[in-house]
Amino acid sequence: MLKIFAVCGMGLGTSVILKSRLKEALDSHGVEYSLDVTDASTANGQEADLIFTSDELASKIRNENAKTVIISNFTNRAEIREKTDAALAELNG
């Protein structure tokens, strides 16, 4: 079971978009995962495999166990899918 966080400012805008697009990308891999939207400090204090966030918030991520993935265009399904694919390949490899 992969533990994944989408880290956003307030959990209202970017995260809503990111969560639905991440879900699409993750579901296509058929992996088991949990996906939660949180702020940076919550994500830092927990066990996690992957943390998705924006360039601006990435500097606030301090979680040594997790791989941080930076998304620059949150509307772009292709970018989110490619980065999800790459991150999962790295975790498995």
């Binding site: 400012g9 307030m10 959990g11 805008g13 360039d55 601006e56 918030l57 265009n73 949150f74 509307t75």
Partner: protein, 274 residues
């Protein structure tokens, strides 16, 4: 269809003839002068015109009834051999199925009840007053304020919400710049949000928000929600709208707020028809 119609053209001619006779004219008999002949042909023409006006009214009534029964503008257009847009232009304001965003509150509430994950086309329900193009802003602050003022004017937020939006950018940085040239500034429900609201500002000159990847910004979609779930369908519809670069291009080309709204409406219609 056309063949069956021509089979009935005799019946149609009889109808036109009857209407023409109602004007007091009669078909010319052998030996009548060309004047009588001309009067009759004009009466015939007038009868055709009256019949067409009557048919137009019947078409409008039929379109309204069909819309009430659940037909979309796309289906109405197909029935009369025109595009969806032409049908909309011909019969504006039909009670087509409520899958657009003019009543964002009811939609949002039912969307929440049904499924938070289901995306629904709702963008064009944005208050018509909440769109402005050619807005000049000297910096990101003025751009966010302009978006916030439209939310306030639509009574979606209290004045203090605008300050909270600015504070959010100051504290969290430009993370709400979600795509090249696009930002979705917002604050928290408790910062003075009264209901779900979305405004669109198209800036005349782009401004920098400090985003490494997505600066400069010229499309500002400010939003608010009084409940942290009510806006989910709206935001997902917005994200899908923004993913299509042709929509962004069209918004930047829009010369009036009405044209910008048309871009949104068109996108909604396509979602609705698909």
């Amino acid at each position: 269809m056309a063949d069956r119609l021509s089979d009935r053209s005799d019946a149609l001619s009889d109808l036109v003839s009857a209407i023409a006779r109602d004007t007091g004219r009669t078909p010319p008999a052998p030996g009548d002068g060309s004047d009588t002949h001309q009067q009759w042909l004009l009466a015939w023409l007038s009868a055709c015109s009256q019949l067409r006006a009557e048919l137009d009214e019947q078409m409008a009534e039929a379109a309204r009834s069909a819309a009430r029964a659940g037909a979309s503008y796309g289906e109405l257009g197909a029935a009369v051999g025109t595009s969806r847009q032409a049908a909309r232009k011909r019969w504006p304001d039909l009670p087509v199925p409520a899958r657009r965003l003019l009543t964002v509150l009811e939609r949002a509430r039912s969307a929440r009840r049904a499924s938070q994950e289901r995306r629904e086309p709702m963008l064009s329900n944005v208050d018509a007053r909440s769109v402005a193009v050619g807005v000049s802003a000297r910096d990101w602050r003025e751009a966010v304020e302009a978006g916030g003022r439209l939310l306030r004017d639509a009574e979606a937020v209290e004045e203090r919400y605008i300050d909270a939006m600015l504070r959010t950018v100051e504290e969290l940085g430009p993370y709400a710049v979600i795509a090249p040239g696009v930002t979705i500034p917002h604050a928290r429900p408790e910062d003075g949000a009264k209901k779900v609201g979305l405004s669109l500002i198209v800036l005349s000159e782009p401004v920098a928000f400090g985003s490494a990847e997505n600066d400069p910004v010229d499309l500002v979609f400010a939003f608010a929600t009084a409940d942290p779930n009510d806006h989910i369908g709206l935001i997902q519809a917005l994200a899908d709208f923004l993913e299509d670069r042709s929509n962004l291009h069209a918004l930047r080309q829009a010369r009036t707020a009405a044209e910008a709204r048309e871009v949104i409406q068109r996108s909604d219609d396509e979602r609705g028809d698909s």
